[in-house]
Symmetry: C2
């Protein structure tokens, strides 16, 4: 049926071992022999059997990238950067690796299942991007799984995710808390005292940390937070729209709205506009992440830029063993406050 190594060997009049060595280039083969083999490969249109090769060599060229939402550029940008470093086709690394992006959709079970699937495939490395889900049992299960993967020789890198202690996983963590704090301090500095906050989904580290940063800023400036000022939602535009309406209903005196991320902020802008409020004259808005479209909002969004591409690339290099892990296996990646038109001094 399909062409096998043996067929190629027969055609080139050599042993299967030699063909394998030519293909892998990890053992000296005389030039003339090599040419003969290559010619046979070409003529027969031979394609290596991946599973067989992986089985025999006890290694695989799969690298897994887990993302919460592949349709969200936040993850897309990171995944793309990781992938570009993985070497994949076109990358500079030697071995060709198949970078596979797995979409968990923010469902805990899926995250776990994908990890098992990757473990099954004996993946060479796994990169987990974005915030972690904080459900007690789930977190522990993931940690256990990560430890197993590491023990089995898979390199595990967390990108934009808090460290997973005692698992052997390398972490490149985003300073969401610091970023959240900076953002709110910027608004407070402008004179805002009544700030609404649209948080992301609960039970997510990213959500929690950004919110904690926000509250730390309020506390540091002696502003007591009114419980009506914060709502939870999803990380998308519509959620931002609805949450803003709700916030406005609860307290029409708000002078600023801080959103969990840029998409949410865009939704907030739309809601404010539809409510007849001007940005930033009536209400200031701030986002988080600085995704490409944020600068195109009108007015452009004040936000915290996270170096997604850089972090992803670094995670990729570490996963490939092409860059050393940071000391202690943990590095913190800071965001940069981008002050733009959507934030201004409060009215009145």
């Amino acid at each position: 049926m399909t062409v096998t190594l043996a067929d190629v060997a027969a055609r080139a009049q050599v042993s299967p071992a030699t063909v394998s060595r030519v293909l892998n280039g990890n053992y000296p083969v005389a030039a003339t022999t090599r040419d003969r083999v290559l010619k046979a490969v070409d003529e027969l249109d031979y394609v290596l059997n991946g599973p067989a090769s992986a089985l025999a060599a006890a290694t695989s060229d799969l690298v897994g990238i887990l993302v919460n939402d592949i349709a969200d550029p936040f993850f897309g940008i990171m995944a793309g950067a990781v992938q570009s470093e993985i070497g994949g086709p076109g990358g500079r690394a030697g071995g060709e690796r198949l970078a596979v992006v797995c979409n968990t959709g923010g469902v805990p079970e899926r995250e776990l299942t994908y990890l098992t699937l990757l473990q099954r495939q004996r993946a060479a490395a796994v990169v987990l991007t974005g915030g972690a889900m904080e459900y007690g049992a789930h977190q522990a299960a993931v940690a256990t799984k990560l430890r197993k993967l590491v023990e089995a020789g898979t390199r595990v890198v967390l990108c934009g995710r808090p460290p997973a202690p005692d698992t052997g996983a390398i972490a490149l963590t985003f300073d969401n808390r610091g970023g959240g704090r900076q953002l709110t301090e910027h608004l407070i500095g402008l004179g805002h005292r009544r700030l609404g906050y649209i948080a992301g989904p609960e039970e997510r580290t990213t959500t929690r940390h950004r919110l904690e940063g926000h509250r730390a800023a309020l506390a540091a400036h002696g502003i007591e937070e009114d419980p009506r000022w914060s709502v939870h939602g999803r990380y998308d535009r519509q959620s931002g729209y609805e949450a803003t309406l709700e916030l406005l209903r609860r307290d029409p005196e708000l002078t600023a709205v801080v959103a969990a991320n840029d998409s949410v902020a865009l939704g907030a802008c739309a809601a404010l506009r539809d409510s007849g409020l001007r940005i930033p004259d009536d209400v200031s808005v701030a986002g988080f992440d600085d995704l490409p479209f944020s600068i195109d909002a009108v007015p452009a969004l004040t936000t915290v830029r996270l170096p997604l591409a850089e972090a992803g690339a670094r995670a990729g290099r570490i996963a490939m063993g092409r860059e050393d892990a940071p000391p202690g296996g943990i590095a913190t990646v800071r965001g940069e406050l981008m002050v733009r038109g959507s934030s201004g001094v409060p009215r009145g």
Copy 2:
């Protein structure tokens, strides 16, 4: 070292064959035996060896999804939809499949290499999303590869991509030409006679078809196109910004700018605004795709909505054999004109 099937068998006091059968559930096994096996699996924390299994069974649970740019929501949305239907973890389908998203970055060689890699892994199905690259030799090479894949039993589905004749691949094609034409006719209907066009990268079917649609509309209304009115660029915002500046330089009298996609249109809006022009009062702008952020532009973008998620889901179902292929193996997916604030009657 690692736990194998044999270890589980030993622990459960059964033969490896039985363990395999319990795990695959494709052969009768007495309930008591099954429980014993499952218990052993659990206690030993056994994880099936994917490659070995794939080798022995001569099948794999990998499904490949090729995208041009994973950081672009256009692809992210389709990929996510495909994946959700693939069954992956959480999907409804039976077997758990590993949906792997491969990012070609619009590089022809990478596309080919990824296809080979997937062929190597004996992928169960492959979905190619988005426009095809039109370089003579490359196209032929891809067609050959696709045919080989189909022959080897891999289901190949093209989503948002023109059909690949004689390959056995199923195609769900976007009517880019029709969409482009509708859009331009809308503008012509408003009274525009001098329309700039920012096309995508050359040698791409999507680019070509949208442009052809645009030109067909012009021709149908007896408008002769000035060669200065169109430029090629990338499918991103910055490209749209620069191209718009260039267009304005070439002909300041333009009253409308049609962009290759929404990101480009956003860049165009920014450029117009920075040039002191109002939208749509001075210049109308139109995009293509209707990505989620397009409605948030100010004014909201007039564009052509492509049912990305629906098409992706359908492609996924077809790839899984859960839905019949369209008659003839080809289906055309139409876009819907979304008229919004960014287009209006020309000035003067």
